[in-house]
C-alpha cells in the first residue's frame, strides 16, 4: 500500500507538469485549431532562461529562498510569454488563411529553429541548476515520507491551473477567448478583437509552459536542449486525453497521464512506460474520440 501511494505521488507530480504544458497546447488549439509543435521548445526555453537569470543575478541570495524563486518564476513566465507572442507573429499569423497543413509544417519548422537556436546559444552539453536553492526535506503523509519538492511542484501547478480556469471563466477577456475558440468569425462580428485574443493566448500558454520548464529544471537539476521533445509529446497526449480545446480536460488529462505512467511503470513494466502512454492515446482516440471531456474529432457523415 505504501508503494502504491508513493507511486501515486510520483505520478501526480509528473502529471502536474504535463498538465501545465498541456494547457498551452489546448488553449492554442482551441483558438487557432493548430497543434503548436514548438510548444515543447518554449518549455525548454523557460528552463534555460530560468537558469540564465539564476546564474547571472543570483536572485535567491538577494531575496531569500522562497521569494527569490517566485520572482524568478514570474520573470521567466513573462519572458517566455513574450517569445510566444513573437513566435505567433512570425510563424503562424501569415498562415491564418492557409491550409492546416501549412501551419503544421511551419510549427515543426519553428520547433526545429528554437531547439537549435538554444543549442547554438548555450552549447550542447547539459546545464545544471544550482543545487542549494531548493528545500530538501520530506513531509509525512499518513506515515509515508513524501519529498517536499514534489508537493511544491504539484501545488504550484494546481494553483496556476485554477488561476487560469478562473481567468477563462470569470473575466471578460476569458469570455473573449472562449468565444474565439468557438467561432472566430462570429466573435469578430461581435466586436471582439480576435488578433488581440490570439496574442493573449500565445502569451498565457507559453508562459505556463515556461513555468513548467523552470520547475523541471529546479526539480530534476539538469537541462539540455532536447528536453522539450518528450515532454511536449506527452503533454500533447495529455491534452488529447482530456479533450483538446478543453481546459479542465487538459488538467485532468495531464494528471491522469502522469498517474497511468507511474503506476503502469511500477506494476507492469518500466521499459514500456512511454509506450503505455501512447497506447492509451490511441485507444482513447479510437473508442472515445471526444477525449474524456472534449469535442468531436472524427468526421462520419
Amino acid at each position: 500500500m505504501e508503494q502504491f501511494f508513493l507511486q501515486l505521488t510520483n505520478g501526480l507530480t509528473v502529471g502536474s507538469i504535463y498538465a501545465l504544458i498541456a494547457l498551452g497546447y489546448t488553449m492554442i488549439y482551441g483558438v487557432l485549431k493548430l497543434i503548436n509543435f514548438a510548444h515543447g521548445d518554449l518549455f525548454t526555453t523557460g528552463a534555460y532562461l530560468g537558469f540564465t537569470v539564476l546564474a547571472s543575478i543570483a536572485l535567491t541570495d538577494r531575496l531569500g529562498q522562497y521569494s527569490g524563486i517566485i520572482v524568478l518564476a514570474i520573470m521567466v513566465m513573462v519572458m517566455v510569454g513574450i517569445i510566444g507572442i513573437v513566435l505567433e507573429r512570425a510563424a503562424y499569423k501569415p498562415l491564418r488563411q492557409s491550409s492546416r497543413l501549412s501551419a503544421v509544417v511551419s510549427a515543426l519548422g519553428a520547433s526545429i529553429f528554437i531547439q537549435n537556436a538554444i543549442m547554438l546559444i548555450y552549447g550542447a552539453t547539459f546545464y545544471f541548476y544550482p543545487q542549494d536553492i531548493l528545500p530538501r526535506f520530506t513531509i509525512n503523509f499518513f506515515g509515508i515520507a513524501v519529498p517536499i519538492m514534489r508537493c511544491i511542484v504539484f501545488m504550484t501547478s494546481i494553483a496556476l491551473m485554477i488561476f487560469l480556469y478562473v481567468f477563462i471563466q470569470r473575466t471578460t477577456i476569458g469570455a473573449a477567448i472562449r468565444a474565439a475558440a468557438i467561432d472566430q468569425d462570429a466573435a469578430r462580428l461581435m466586436g471582439i478583437n480576435v488578433d488581440r485574443v490570439i496574442s493573449i493566448v500565445f502569451f498565457i500558454g507559453p508562459a505556463l509552459g515556461g513555468a513548467a520548464g523552470l520547475m523541471v529544471g529546479m526539480y530534476y537539476g539538469h537541462i539540455n536542449f532536447t528536453m522539450g521533445w518528450v515532454y511536449g509529446l506527452k503533454a500533447f497526449t495529455a491534452a488529447i486525453l482530456g479533450g483538446i480545446g478543453n481546459i479542465p480536460g487538459a488538467m485532468l488529462g495531464g494528471l491522469l497521464l502522469g498517474v497511468i505512467e507511474s503506476l503502469g511503470a511500477a506494476y507492469i513494466s518500466f521499459a514500456w512506460k512511454d509506450a503505455l502512454a501512447f497506447c492509451v492515446l490511441i485507444l482513447i482516440l479510437i473508442f472515445r474520440p471526444t477525449g474524456l471531456l472534449g469535442e468531436r474529432v472524427a468526421d462520419k457523415i
Binding site: 508503494q3 508513493l6 507511486q7 510520483n10 509528473v14 550542447a124 552539453t125 547539459f126 545544471f128 543545487q131 530538501r136 520530506t138 515520507a145 519529498p147 519538492m149 523541471v216 530534476y220 537539476g221 539538469h222 539540455n224 528536453m227 518528450v230 507511474s262 511503470a265 511500477a266 518500466f270 521499459a271 512506460k273 512511454d274
Partner: protein, 375 residues
C-alpha cells in the same frame, strides 16, 4: 523550371569537382567522439588530449617526416550518427581512427572502417563482443567487461554485501557488464534480488527507485552511464533512501557529482580504471602537467587518456614500421608491440586486439566531491 535545372546542374558539377582532393603532406588520423549528446564532456576531452599529443609530435620533427593532422567527427553518442561519421572519416584519407566511447556506438562503425582497411583503436568500448568478430584492424586500449565484471563482483563481496540488486540500461555495454557481474556473484552464492533495466535519457526515475526500495537490497549495482547514475543518486536521496549504490566504470565522470548534487554523491562507490590524477606512471604525470598548462585544468576522464594512448600506440607503430599501410601497422601492433609505456600503464595487444594486463584492480569512493582511490 529552367532555373531549377541550372541549379541542379551546378550542384551536380559541384559534387563531381569536389571529388578531387588536393594531395597534402600530412598524416591524417581520425577521431570519432561524442562531441554532442549526453557524453559530450567525454568527447571534448578526447579531442583536447589528441590535439595536445599531435602538437607535441609536430613541434618535435613530425612523424616520419610529416606533420600529423587530427580530423574530428562527431558521433553524437548514437549508432546511426556514428555510422555516418565513420563514412565521412573513412573517405578522408586517414590512416587510423581513435574512437569511440560507448560500445554500441563503436560497434556500428566497425565494419565501415574494416572494409576500408582503416585501423580503429577504441578507447571507451568495453563490450566483450567487439573483439570476438575477427576484425584484423580493430584494437582497444580499454579493458573488457568480463574483467570488470569479475572485479565488480569481487569488490561487492569484499564489502560484505549479501543481497544485491542489479540495474542496467539495456545498452550493449551495461547489459553485458550486468550479466558478467551477475554470473560471478551467483557462482559465489550471493543472492540477486533484482535484475532489470531503466530507460536512459529520461529524467524521472522515482518509480523504479521506489520499486527497488521495496525489495530491500543491501546494495544496488548500477552498470549504466554517469548521467543516469547522477539522477539515480539524487532522486534516491530525495526519497530518503540510504542504501548504498555502486557503479560501473561508465559512472566515472566528475559531472556525476554535478548532476547528483554534492550531498547525494557523497559516499558513492564505483569500479573503474584509475583516474588521470591517480596514475602512478611518469608518462601520465608529465602529460597531466602538460595538459594543465595547455588547457588550464587537469584532465577529468580516464577515457580521454585511453584515447591518448590509442593515438600514441598508433603513431609509435607508424614510426617503427615507417609505413602507413594498415596491414603492416596491424601486424606491428598485434605481434611486435610489447609493454609499450602508455599513459595508463603498459600496453600489449593480443591477437584479438584486446589490451592485455590488469587495470581494473581498484575502486573509488566519492568524498567531498572528489574521487578517492581505495586499494
Amino acid at each position: 523550371m529552367k532555373i531549377k535545372k541550372i541549379v541542379m546542374s551546378i550542384t551536380l558539377t559541384f559534387f563531381l569537382v569536389s571529388g578531387a582532393w588536393a594531395a597534402t603532406d600530412f598524416i591524417k588520423i581520425g577521431l570519432m567522439a561524442p562531441m554532442t549528446g549526453s557524453w559530450a564532456s567525454e568527447g571534448i576531452e578526447m579531442k583536447q588530449v589528441l590535439e595536445l599529443l599531435a602538437q607535441k609530435i609536430n613541434t618535435s620533427g613530425g612523424l616520419i617526416g610529416k606533420n600529423v593532422e587530427i580530423i574530428v567527427e562527431d558521433d553524437g553518442g548514437d549508432p546511426r550518427t556514428a555510422a555516418l561519421a565513420a563514412q565521412r572519416l573513412a573517405t578522408s584519407g586517414i590512416v587510423g581512427v581513435i574512437g569511440t566511447y560507448g560500445s554500441s556506438i563503436t560497434e556500428a562503425t566497425q565494419t565501415i572502417y574494416d572494409e576500408e582497411g582503416i585501423i580503429q583503436i577504441a578507447n571507451g568500448s568495453t563490450a566483450v563482443r567487439l573483439t570476438e568478430k575477427g576484425l584484423k584492424h580493430f584494437f582497444r586500449t580499454c579493458p573488457r567487461d568480463d574483467e570488470q565484471g569479475r572485479v565488480a563482483a569481487q569488490t561487492i563481496q569484499k564489502l560484505g554485501f549479501k543481497n544485491i540488486a542489479i540495474l542496467h540500461d539495456n545498452t550493449t555495454y551495461a547489459k553485458g557488464l550486468a550479466d558478467e557481474t551477475k554470473g560471478h556473484l551467483q557462482s559465489n552464492q550471493i543472492k540477486i534480488c533484482f535484475f532489470d533495466t531503466l530507460t536512459p535519457g529520461e529524467r524521472d526515475y522515482s518509480t523504479i527507485l521506489t520499486m527497488l526500495k521495496a525489495k530491500k537490497p543491501d546494495v544496488v549495482f548500477f552498470t549504466g552511464y554517469y548521467p543516469e547514475a547522477g539522477l539515480l543518486l539524487r532522486q534516491k536521496r530525495e526519497l530518503n533512501w540510504k542504501t548504498p549504490f555502486i557503479g560501473g566504470d561508465a559512472t566515472n565522470h566528475p559531472d556525476l557529482i554535478k548532476i547528483a548534487g554534492r550531498d547525494a554523491a557523497e559516499g558513492f562507490r564505483f569500479v573503474s580504471a584509475p583516474l588521470p590524477k591517480d596514475l602512478p606512471f611518469r608518462q601520465a604525470r608529465t602529460f597531466v602537467e602538460d595538459y594543465q598548462s595547455a588547457y588550464g585544468k587537469k584532465p577529468n576522464s580516464i577515457y580521454a587518456l585511453l584515447a591518448g594512448d590509442g593515438f600514441r600506440v598508433l603513431t609509435h607503430a607508424i614510426q617503427k614500421t615507417k609505413s602507413l599501410k594498415p596491414k603492416m601497422i596491424s601486424d606491428y601492433l598485434h605481434h611486435r608491440l610489447k609493454s609499450f609505456r602508455g599513459l595508463t600503464g603498459r600496453i600489449t595487444f593480443n591477437d584479438k586486439g584486446d589490451r592485455v594486463g590488469d587495470i581494473y584492480s581498484n575502486y573509488m569512493v566519492v568524498v567531498k566531491t572528489a574521487f578517492v582511490l581505495q586499494q
